[in-house]
């Protein structure tokens, strides 16, 4: 199990290494950078939802906290992006503790409701607190990141750096899953009572994993701000939080690779489908609608209907059945001969 996870990380690293050469085009490199941000957030969200079994439908708010903290501190106070990012992390962690304290003592989906409320509040604050957030017109002039004197000023540099962070995030998550702490989280998901009876401090551990997932989201938000260099409240609405939950669920909650592949798929799928509208026009279908959105929804629906455990586990189960069927066919005669 553990070895599989490290092999997975190896595969991701290899893919990251060759991707810019294969993609070439700056636009698609940008798409992959946005995908990296989603993968990072969803890795943290998967620890919270898939492993500890606690649902957050407002995780976009933690992304907003990171993005706005970075943007405000760097543009208005001239702080270094790294210090600002650290402040975002601390703020997001503090908010997570604040939300976790009352909700995590209770069984049931109080956290889901609290995070949803928090997401709407953050969006409203981003729109309304014009003096700080720039309101609907947002904040411009966010500086680029610098790393050991290198300015991350090309998409290739950004690509490598951002995906490097995704790999690091995956590695930390995998380490955690296979540790005492990770087993404690999975135990909480399996049965809170049984976990407590074995000495797992469920309230504290649930708050800790909420904080961890908020930190992942906040870093992803800061990285977003330093990539697009301009932020406004638009991307931080509640729908984005719902999309994050969908990514984790479509890929498969109970496996970090599920969440990862879900995030990757749903980040790339819209690009893959964007040709559809043009294609349909050549068939003289003039009715104006978002065909790509339609197909996108259809694909989600099919996955959830036929692979309810998520794309990752669903597909690996399918592959396993196919292989074992072939082995049965191939090995049938040999067994008879014995």
């Amino acid at each position: 199990m553990k070895i599989k996870d490290y092999v997975g990380i190896g595969i991701v690293m290899a893919a990251v290494a060759v991707a810019p050469k294969l993609v070439g085009n700056e636009y698609y490199l940008g798409v992959l950078i946005f995908a990296a941000l989603n993968c990072l957030t969803c890795t943290g969200l998967c620890l919270l939802m898939g492993y500890a079994g606690q649902i957050s439908i407002g995780h976009g708010a933690f992304i907003a906290v990171g993005a706005y903290t970075s943007a405000v501190l760097t543009t208005k106070l001239g702080w270094s992006p790294w210090t600002a990012m650290g402040c975002g992390v601390i703020l997001a962690a503090g908010i997570a503790v604040f939300m976790g304290l009352p909700t995590m003592r209770l069984k049931g989906h109080y956290l889901a409701m609290a995070t949803l409320g928090f997401a709407s509040i953050i969006h409203i604050v981003a729109v309304a607190a014009v003096d700080v957030t720039g309101g609907p017109s947002g904040i411009t002039g966010i500086p680029r990141l610098q790393l050991f004197g290198f300015v991350l000023n090309s998409d290739t540099r950004n690509f490598y750096f951002y995906w490097g962070i995704v790999v690091a995030g995956l590695l930390l998550a995998v380490n955690l899953i296979h540790s005492r702490v990770g087993r404690g989280l999975q135990a909480i998901h399996g049965s809170e009572d049984a976990a407590a009876s074995l000495g797992v401090n469920i309230a504290v551990d649930k708050i800790k994993v909420l904080v961890l997932s908020a930190v992942y989201a906040s870093i992803s938000g800061s990285l977003y701000a330093h990539y697009v260099l301009f932020i406004d409240p638009g991307p931080f609405d509640v729908m984005h939080s719902v999309l994050l939950v969908t990514m984790v669920a479509v890929g498969g909650l109970h496996n970090i690779w599920g969440a990862f592949s879900g995030a990757l798929l749903l980040s790339l799928l819209p690009e893959g489908l964007s040709f559809l509208s043009e294609y349909l026009q050549t068939f003289d279908i003039r009715y104006r609608t978002d065909y790509d959105t339609l197909i996108y929804g259809g694909i989600l629906l099919l996955i959830m209907l036929f692979l309810p455990e998520g794309l990752f586990e669903g597909l690996s189960r399918l592959l396993k059945t196919v292989f074992s069927l072939r082995r049965k066919w191939g090995g049938g005669l040999a067994r008879h001969a014995e």
Partner: protein, 253 residues
């Protein structure tokens, strides 16, 4: 004179209008197997939940050695060396059999989130120790050949065994078993009886709730009978069997 390990003094629990446990006074002896019996709804599981911190007492005192357990959380009570199983089995079905037992070693190491995420090589030896001692428990309970199966895939009898293996991994001095033989067939019930003997021989005090009277009479040193949350009899299995109040309670006359 055996010395006591656990005392319940005027213990009382009300759920709304229902008095589940009513002024219960009971002393459990160290090293013995005590059975708590009584009709359905008598309050046996509630007594377990009170002692292990899952419900808070309305009144009274729970004393483990000299420690008052009244306001302690379940995880803190586990840390005192008190283990338990559940009437409706609660294995972690999302984990393998071995991982279930490894959770039982949770309190035997202290490493937190940062250490686990950033420095896993430092923890390798400890992980190996945890895995080895979990494996030992599986061998003890004859579950080792299922080690890498998902716990949810085991039949009920093995799941009950797994719950006990997990609780034993805690290295408890006091172990609560809530209906360990319920849902088991005759052969599995016999194996459960042998296991409880084995646990007793490991110097673990066992308190169990059980409806299988043959099993109770076979393995218990003492039996306490409760009905409507009240103690109606206690003594050796023989004494209790002949007690007219007990016969009444069971026949409902």
């Amino acid at each position: 004179m055996p010395n006591s390990i656990l005392r319940l003094e005027n213990l009382r629990k009300k759920f709304g209008g229902v008095v589940a446990v009513d002024d219960l006074n009971l002393v459990f002896n160290k090293g013995e197997v005590t059975a708590l019996i009584g009709p359905n709804g008598a309050g046996k599981t509630t007594v377990f939940n009170l002692i292990t911190g899952f419900v808070k007492p309305t009144a009274g005192t729970i004393l483990f050695k000299d420690i008052r357990l009244n306001h302690k959380k379940p995880h803190a009570i586990a840390a005192l060396g008190i283990g338990r199983t559940f009437q409706n089995v609660q294995v972690f079905s999302n984990m393998t059999v071995l991982e279930n037992v490894m959770v039982g070693r949770h309190l035997r190491s202290r490493n937190g989130m940062l250490m686990s995420a950033f420095l896993p090589p430092m923890l390798r030896r400890e992980e190996n120790r945890i895995r080895a001692s979990a494996q030992e428990r599986l061998v003890l309970l004859g579950l080792d050949r299922y080690a890498h199966l998902p716990a949810g895939s085991l039949p009920l009898g093995n799941q009950r065994m797994l719950e006990i293996a997990r609780a034993l991994a805690l290295e408890p001095t006091l172990l609560f078993l809530d209906e360990p033989a319920s849902g088991l067939n005759a052969r599995e019930t016999m194996a459960m009886g042998e296991l409880i003997h084995k646990i007793k021989s490991m110097n673990i005090t066992v308190i169990l709730v059980e409806h299988d009277m043959e099993l109770v009479m076979d393995i218990s040193d003492r039996v306490a009978v409760i009905n409507f949350g009240r103690l109606i009899a206690q003594g050796t299995p023989k004494e209790v069997q002949l007690n007219p109040d007990v016969i009444n309670a069971y026949l409902g006359t």
